[in-house]
């Protein structure tokens, strides 16, 4: 098995020991976030930077809480580019990275929690 991209430390802390809560949070995460990540990429491709920024803003706390640390800075950069409606080369790399990393995280979570 490859190294885990996610880290449930923070979520566990928050749960106060409730397995049920952790499970339900992961369910919610898997239910909603993949769709948002797709949209993130989509809006970038459509050059709708404003929506892209808004989506980044929205999913940022979830990614933080699920401990997907690899994209911690990236998602913030995307949000800022979106807010300023500024496109540049870095942005396409960032989008691609966030997309890939998140999807790997989704796969891992689904496998680990039998979703």
């Amino acid at each position: 098995m490859t190294e885990k991209i996610y880290d449930l430390n923070q979520l566990e802390q928050l749960s106060g020991g409730s397995e049920e809560f952790i499970k339900s949070m992961i369910d919610t995460f898997i239910e909603h976030t993949p769709e948002q990540v797709d949209k993130l990429k989509e809006s970038y491709n459509n050059n709708d930077l404003k929506s892209m920024g808004a989506i980044a803003h929205k999913i940022k706390p979830s990614l933080d809480l699920m401990g997907i640390k690899e994209v911690y800075d990236d998602i913030r950069k995307i949000e800022l580019y979106g807010k300023n409606e500024e496109d540049n080369e870095e942005l396409s790399t960032l989008i691609e990275k966030v997309y890939t990393v998140c999807n790997t995280a989704f796969q891992q979570l689904k496998a680990d929690f039998n979703i």
Binding site: L14, M25, T28, K58, P61, S62, L65
Partner: protein, 448 residues
């Protein structure tokens, strides 16, 4: 404290869920999550104790939701939780009544927790305060001014009018007629009731100190001013100030007071800062101010300024049956306080109460009734249990039950003393021949 209802407004269900869970860790918290602005606004009627609000909602902007919540009830603390760290937005929201602005990051839940603990403390204090305030309010409800006389009903009408406006009120009446009670009734039934009612007894403060008492002073303004002091006007800001015994104020101070009332601003002694004040003024006096104006003891312009709505409290002796209503009320209160059974007055006792002149008015009646209960030692108060303190009262006089001749002698003696043994004047006053008086003096019935 139990049942803190927290509304979490968060469109991201994942984050909303985590907040919900986090806040539910304390069993006192009753947490509900809403995903849109409209949803939470539709549920405000259920009176949440605290609302946490995500700034970027899909339907309505966070700022608008905030202002709608504040419109509904400005006392609900709203904690803004936002993904963006934009200082100007934060400042703007705080200005518009947000309780706290928390950014979504790793510290969010701790900060939120601390904020909620703070709010809970505040709510508790507020509840205590409002319980105490209600207690005070009931104490000064109209129904606590006892009596059924027509003259009193008229006064209730005036109090009501005064309470509904900010007009200056001048209360006159003999000592013990309840001037302070009326001032309190006005204040606690007015829109200012949540702000302080400050009472200043002008007669009780040395005239050198009154200015600093009313307007305050800065540190070092005069010898002995070792610290800054806030004056009574400033303390009463937003509320009511009662200037009792205003007739005793000296002319110099009257000038200053007039200026303050006209400009609606004060400055502390020795200070340059001008402080705007919004205070309703109630003045009370046992003197007839109009007469003081004539005598030159009271400034005419100030008199008119203060006259406002005049309320003249009748002396107790003019309130007829109210004497018995009040006597019964004070008796019941006293009995209750001292764990005694219901107290009643015999017909003779009632008669005696009704025939007294009460120079000390209601305050005196209260003292008389309380003493009578103690003297009676049982629940039936008889005439002989009632003792009046004033020496030359008519009732005591009549209750001495002596011969008509003796009554004559007493009356004559009283008048001679009063008019410096001026026999001619006394004869005229009593409409009797002066020889009658001379004869009594000659017979040794009276001495002059």
């Amino acid at each position: 404290m139990n049942g803190i209802k927290i509304f979490v407004v968060e469109d991201d269900s994942f984050y909303g869920k985590s907040l919900h869970h986090h806040l539910s860790l304390n069993p006192e918290h009753e947490v509900e999550t809403f995903t849109t602005g409209k949803d939470v606004l539709d549920n405000l009627y259920r009176k949440p104790s605290i609302i946490t609000l995500d700034y970027s909602l899909p339907d309505i902007s966070g700022k608008e939701v905030l202002s709608k919540i504040k419109e509904f009830d400005q006392d609900i603390p709203v904690i803004i939780i936002s993904g963006q760290e934009d200082v100007s937005t934060a400042v703007d929201l705080l200005k518009h009544g947000a309780y706290e602005y928390i950014v979504k990051d790793n510290d969010t839940k701790d900060r939120l927790w601390n904020t909620i603990v703070n709010i809970k403390e505040k709510i508790q204090l507020k509840n205590e305060l409002s319980i105490l305030r209600d207690e005070v309010n009931t104490k000064y409800e109209f129904s606590n001014i006892k009596g059924n006389s027509q003259i009193l009903k008229k006064i209730f009408g005036l109090i009501d009018k005064a309470a509904n406006t900010n007009i200056t009120v001048s209360i006159t009446g003999e000592t013990g007629t309840g001037k302070e009670l009326v001032a309190k009734a006005i204040h606690y039934n007015s829109a200012r009731k949540k702000k302080p009612l400050i009472t200043v007894n002008v007669a009780a403060i040395p005239k050198e100190l009154i200015e600093s008492e009313l307007f305050g002073h800065e540190k070092g303004a005069f010898t002995g001013a070792v610290a800054k002091r806030i004056g009574k006007f400033e303390e009463a800001n937003g509320g009511t100030i009662l200037l009792d015994e205003i007739g005793e104020m000296d002319l110099h101070m009257q000038t200053k007071l007039l200026r303050v009332l006209q400009e609606k601003e004060i400055s502390r002694i020795g200070g340059n800062e001008v402080i705007k004040i919004n205070v309703r003024v109630i003045v009370a006096t046992h003197k007839k101010l109009a007469e003081e104006v004539k005598k030159g003891n009271f400034r005419e312009d100030l008199y008119y300024r203060l006259l406002g709505l005049p309320i003249e409290l009748p002396p107790l002796r003019d309130r007829g049956n109210d004497i018995l209503v009040l006597a019964k009320y004070f008796a019941d209160e006293f009995a209750k306080e001292n764990g005694m059974k219901d107290v009643s007055f015999t017909a003779e006792a009632q008669d005696k109460l009704l025939n007294y002149s009460y120079p000390g008015n209601v305050r005196e009646l209260k003292a008389i009734v309380e003493l009578a209960i103690v003297m009676a030692g049982n629940t039936k108060i008889d005439a002989e249990d009632i003792a009046f303190n004033s020496t030359n009262s008519m009732t005591d006089f009549l209750f001495s039950e002596t011969t008509l001749k003796e009554y004559n002698r007493k009356i004559m003696k009283h008048f001679l003393e009063k008019y410096d043994n001026n026999v001619l004047l006394v004869a005229k006053k009593l409409d009797i021949g002066k020889s009658t008086i001379y004869r009594m003096i000659k017979n040794g019935e009276i001495e002059i």
